[in-house]
Amino acid sequence: MTDPGDRLLLDVRGLTVRFPTSDGVVQAVSDVSFSLSRGETLGVVGESGSGKSVSNLAIMGLLNRQRTAIAGEVLFRGRDLLTLPPDQLRHIRGKEIAMVFQDPFACLHPMYRVGAQIAEAVRAHDDVGKDRAWARAVELLDHVGIPNAKSRARDYPHQFSGGMRQRAMIAMALVHNPSILICDEPTTALDVTVQAQILELIEDVKREFDIGVILVTHDLGVVAETASSVMVMYAGRVMEYGPAREIFAQPQHPYTWGLLDSMPSVERRLAALVPIDGSPPSLLAPPAGCPFHPRCRYRFEPCPTERPDLVAPVPEAHPDACHLPWDDKLREGAKRSVDRVGEAA
């Protein structure tokens, strides 16, 4: 085995993203820290507007630097991507870190052939001829399971089904054997059966190329199937972060409990689902104290005023941001313990 430090790909420290708008400053992401190693699938979970997508766009350098204030560090193999000049960042983007987006219907250019769009990604970083790039595109389309890749490469995106488009997006992301693949809700826009295929494809790719995967989703079921570690986000902050095994066996944060209670499964009847009351706070003026306290059924005195730090409540537990005593977390968490469908290695 190699030194574990060698396998560390990404180390994000205190990432904070602010959007100044005419209505005030949107506090999209606040003080988010996590790391990613080779062979790891990090599931990032949260409702819409919890800052999960924005964090990843910040890592990719896809936020407009003039209209966003970004603080913290994004260390990719020791280099801080946030301070890298745009032309150097461009050489990492798509080559070292690739991204698959949510809506495959909108993410491919409608006026260029699928093969040409992948070949363009090849030529963005490799100085090869058009024919070589096209051959590579066909090879990748074939690899991600597009039948008749050679002729389908000449199709336009509207001739592809949703699942095929997402496969094409994954093929495009794999062009340069990146070490990190960020998947931003890759299955949300797809049919359930196709969802499973795409998740499987991402897992295969991870294992085959020994890369790190960040899987952003609002679907805990997806995370349960594939993630090796989980970060639960709410209102731009990390609520709970730890190995997937622990998060599902012994969830520690009331928000995670809420997500689990509202998650349908085959065994659970619809009537047994408990939704989380209320809606996520405005990020223009997030609540004081714990951002989740207005919706939390377990809140007590300190919650509205003191913001809990993300710390491990006891040495053997993973970090969470909640004031509840450890005994309560242990008791309530045990009620939500989930048998995971497929244990990730």
């Binding site: 990719m60 993410c107 250019h109 409608p110 006026m111 336009y156 997006m169 495009m172």
Partner: protein
């Protein structure tokens, strides 16, 4: 693709036939005054008027007139094809009149269209890329000026400054390029610029807005995520998708100007098609007006056809849809 073009072509013919019927109805069935009065001299007798009516075919029922008119149009008359008849005023053929005037208008349009397309799109792209900068504000200020300034005022001011005061350009009037190529350019440069200014302003605004909208699309984010250079993202991915509505506008704008550049033609005394139509409309020389209107409508119908075909080339979704 062939089927698509054939279908569009058929439609074009139908449209031209409809236009023929409508223009005929407007000018023959609802005349503002009796054209015969113009030929009859002072204080004509009823007999003289009837005679002229007979000579012009105006005594026949409308459907006979329309039948003859359409027949002549499609099969040609003694002046050749398409048969447009002769003018009431001088008895010369309408076709020769139009053939003589058309180059003036077409050259005016060609020069102006090139100018406005290039400058309009260029300014729009710069504006979109440098959004909210001083350059953007300046460009959009220019656009507002171009859109809100009347062409006749701009034309007269341009003539006054560049011809009378500075003497940099030729004055009003038309010089054929076969007579003097430098004279042609020095007389055309002002009409080109003045006509182009209005359209360049429109095109700059449209390009800017389309491009800004396109740059917010998900596939632009994909292009950036691939690690493409910003230049490539904007020109290859952004501009390509923004261009479709501009192509449509461009085709129609050019076609509409065939009969619609009247003000520019008048200010600069170019005596093109629009000027011809207006003049003869005022004198109730119906065959001439009809000829110009038909030509202008055919231009619009053809432009539509060309735009539709171009559209299919630009956007594969149309081709396969």
């Amino acid at each position: 693709m062939t089927f698509y073009i054939a279908r569009r072509l058929l439609w074009t013919i139908v449209v031209v036939a409809c236009v023929l019927a409508i223009t005929f109805a407007v000018f023959y069935l609802m005349p503002a005054g009796d054209p015969a009065l113009r030929f009859a001299g002072k204080n004509p007798t009823d007999q003289e008027i009837a005679q002229i009516h007979h000579r012009l075919g105006l005594d026949k029922p409308w459907y006979v007139q329309f039948g003859k008119f359409s027949w002549r149009f499609f099969t040609g008359d003694k002046y050749g094809w398409p048969g447009l008849g002769y003018t009431y005023a001088s008895g010369t053929s309408v076709k020769s009149l139009i053939v003589a005037r058309a180059p003036r208008t077409l050259l005016l349009i060609a020069g102006a269209a090139t100018l406005w397309l290039v400058t309009g799109v260029a300014i729009g792209v710069i504006s979109a890329v440098k959004r909210r900068s001083a350059v953007d504000r300046l460009a959009m200020g220019f656009a507002l000026f171009g859109i809100s300034t009347p062409v006749f005022w701009l034309g007269l001011m341009a003539l006054y400054i560049f011809w009378r005061q500075l003497g940099w350009t030729g004055g009003s009037g038309y010089i054929s390029p076969s007579d003097s190529i430098t004279g042609f350019f020095s007389h055309m440069i002002l009409p080109w610029v003045v006509l182009a200014l209005l359209y360049a302003a429109f095109y700059a605004r449209m390009t800017r807005n389309n491009l800004l909208e396109t740059l917010g699309e998900d596939y632009i984010r994909t292009a950036r995520a691939k690690g493409l250079s910003e230049r490539r993202v904007i020109f290859k991915h952004g501009l390509r998708a923004s261009l479709t509505p501009i192509v449509t506008m461009f085709g129609l704008d050019i076609a509409l100007l065939v009969g619609g550049a009247v003000i520019t033609e008048s200010v600069f005394n170019l005596q093109g098609l629009g000027y011809l139509a207006i003049n003869d409309a005022l004198q109730q020389d119906l065959p001439v007006v009809l000829g110009v209107v038909l030509l202008a409508s055919v231009a619009v119908a053809l432009a539509n056809l060309v735009v539709d075909i171009l559209y299919a080339f630009i956007d594969p979704r149309v081709r396969y849809g």
